[in-house]
C-alpha cells in the first residue's frame, strides 16, 4: 500500500506525537514497507483459523469484589504538575 505524508501526519496527530518534516518523509518509507509486509501476510489463506487474541494459552483470572485500595491521593498528587482542592488540573478542555 502506498502511504502518503498526510497519512503519517494523521496517525501522528491521533497518537499526539510531534513529527518534523524530515521525520515524516522517513516514516512514509518505513511505514510503507511495514504495510507491504502486512499485505503479504494478508494474502495467506486463514479460512477456519480463529483470531489469536492473546499469545498465552490461558484465560482471565478474576478477583473477588473487595475494596483493597486505600486513599493515597497525597502521594499520587506529589508528581502532578498542578492540583487544587484535590483535583488534578489540566489545560482547559473545551468540548
Amino acid at each position: 500500500m502506498a502511504l502518503e505524508e498526510s497519512h503519517v501526519r494523521r496517525a501522528a496527530h491521533l497518537a499526539r506525537l510531534a513529527v518534523s518534516d524530515d521525520q515524516a518523509t522517513g516514516f512514509v518509507d518505513d511505514l510503507s514497507r511495514i504495510l507491504d509486509m502486512v499485505d503479504q501476510l494478508q494474502s495467506i489463506d486463514t479460512e477456519g483459523v480463529s483470531p489469536l487474541s492473546h499469545p498465552l494459552d490461558a484465560t482471565q483470572r478474576l478477583r473477588a469484589d473487595e475494596v483493597t485500595e486505600t486513599n493515597q491521593r497525597d502521594m499520587f498528587q506529589r508528581c502532578a504538575p498542578a492540583v487544587e482542592n484535590g483535583l488534578y488540573l489540566v489545560p482547559r478542555v473545551v468540548e
Binding site: H13, E66, V67, E84, G86, Y88
Partner: protein, 484 residues
Amino acid sequence: MQWETVIGLEVHVQLATRSKIFSGASTAFGAEPNTQACAVDLGLPGTLPVLNEQAVAMAVQFGLAVHADIAEVSVFDRKNYFYADLPKGYQTSQMYHPIVGPGDVDITLDDDTTKRIRIHHAHLEEDAGKSLHEDFLGMTGIDLNRAGTPLLEIVSEPDMRSAKEAVAYLKAIHAIVTYLGISDGNMAEGSMRCDVNVSVRPKGQEAFGTRAEIKNVNSFRFVERAIAFEVERQIELIEDGGTVVQETRLFDPERDETRSMRTKEEANDYRYFPCPDLLPVVLDEAYLDHLRSQLPELPADKRERFQSELGLSAYDAAVLSASREMAEFFEEVHHVCGDAKQAANWVQGELSGALNRENLSITNSPISARQLGGLLSRVIDGTINGKAAKQVFQALWNGQGENADAIIEAKGLKQVTDTGAIEAMIDQVIAESPAQVAQYRDAEPEKRGKMIGYFVGQVMKASRGTANPQQVNGVLIAKLDALL
C-alpha cells in the same frame, strides 16, 4: 410528507459492585475528589488490570434476563482516544467479542399493547473520570474517582419509532437492572445514562435516514424532550432542502434543544485492538446455570403473575410491577392483609396520592408496607369501615401511632355493628328530624332513595363515623318505611 422516526438507544449502566472493574478501589458515590482513584485507575506505568468477578456475574445476569446469548469467550479491547478524564489514553471496552450477545426486551405501550425491542449486544467497559469546567485559574479540574467504575453498555437495535417507545424501553431496562440488583439505576447520580440515536425517513421508505447521536441524556423526561426536539429539527432541515449530517449532539435541558457537539471532520478513529493486559474471559455452562438459578422474578414475570394469580387488572399489574420498590411494597401489603385487590387499590390510590402530594418516593413512605397491610386487615375483617380507614391512614402517615390497631383503639374508630346500638341511634335521629321525616313521607316513592342520604349522614355523624354504613342503610329504610 409523512415522516417516520427511527430510534436506537445505547444505555450505560453503572454496575453496583463495591470495587472497580479492574482495581480494588472503592466505587462509593460522593467521596472527596480523587480519594478513590488508585494507581491502576490513574493509569500509572507498571500497573495491570485484574477483572472483578462480580462485574462479570452482573453482566451475565443482565444477559440472561433479556434472553441473550452469553459469549463463551469474550475479549477486552482498547478504545484509544485522548481526553484528560481518561488517564490511560484508552478506555478498556469490548468491541469485537462482547460478553452479552443479541437479546430482546418487551415494552408496554400506553394502549396496553406490547412491542419487542431487540438488543444488539451488551458489553463491559470502564467509566471515565469527571471533568469540572469551573474556572481553576483557566484550567480544568479532573476527579478520577469514577474512572474504572464498571459499566454495562446496552446497545439496542433501531427498533423504536417514537419518543414514547424510547422512554418505555429505557424504563424496561431500568426495571430489569434494579430488579436484578445489578445497579441502583439512579439517573440523577449518573448510574444510568443514555445516548440516543435518532433519524427520520419518509414513511414507507426502507433505508434509514442519517442519524444524529445525542450524548449523555440523564433522565426519562429529557430523553423524551431531546427526541421531540431532534425529530422536529431533522424534518425541518430536510423539508427546507438541507441534509442531516451524522454528528454528535448535546441536549440542553434549559433551552430544550440539542446542539452540535463535535463535527466529524476529524472523525474519531479509536483504533480498537485487543487489550494485551487482559486475557480472554471464558465462561462455562455450569457457571451460567448457577447464575440462571439465582435470577429473581423479573418485571415481566411479576406482571404476568399479578394478573394470573392475584387477579389484578392489566393496568394494576403494570403499575405495581413497574419498579422493584413498588412491587416489593405491594407484595408486603398483600402478604400482611391477604387481599390483593384491596392492597392494589390502596397502594395506587391513597398511598400513591399522598406520596405524590409530598413529592416522596415509595422508599421514603412514612407508612410502611406492614402498617398499611395491618390497616387493610382491619378493613377486611370489618373492625373499621372505609371512612375510618382513611382517618387511620392519615394518622399513620402523621406518625400518630405505631400501627392501625393502636390508632383505632385510641380514636375509638371501631365499627359499630351491634344492631341494637345502631337501631338506638337511628331512632334518635328520626325523633330529632320531624321535618325531614315528613318530607320523606310525602315524597314520590322513587325520590325517597335520594332522601335517605340525609338520615345516613346524621347516623354516621352520631356514631362519629364508626357505624357500619350498609347496616345503617338497611335498618333506616325499614324504619322509615314503617312510618309511611
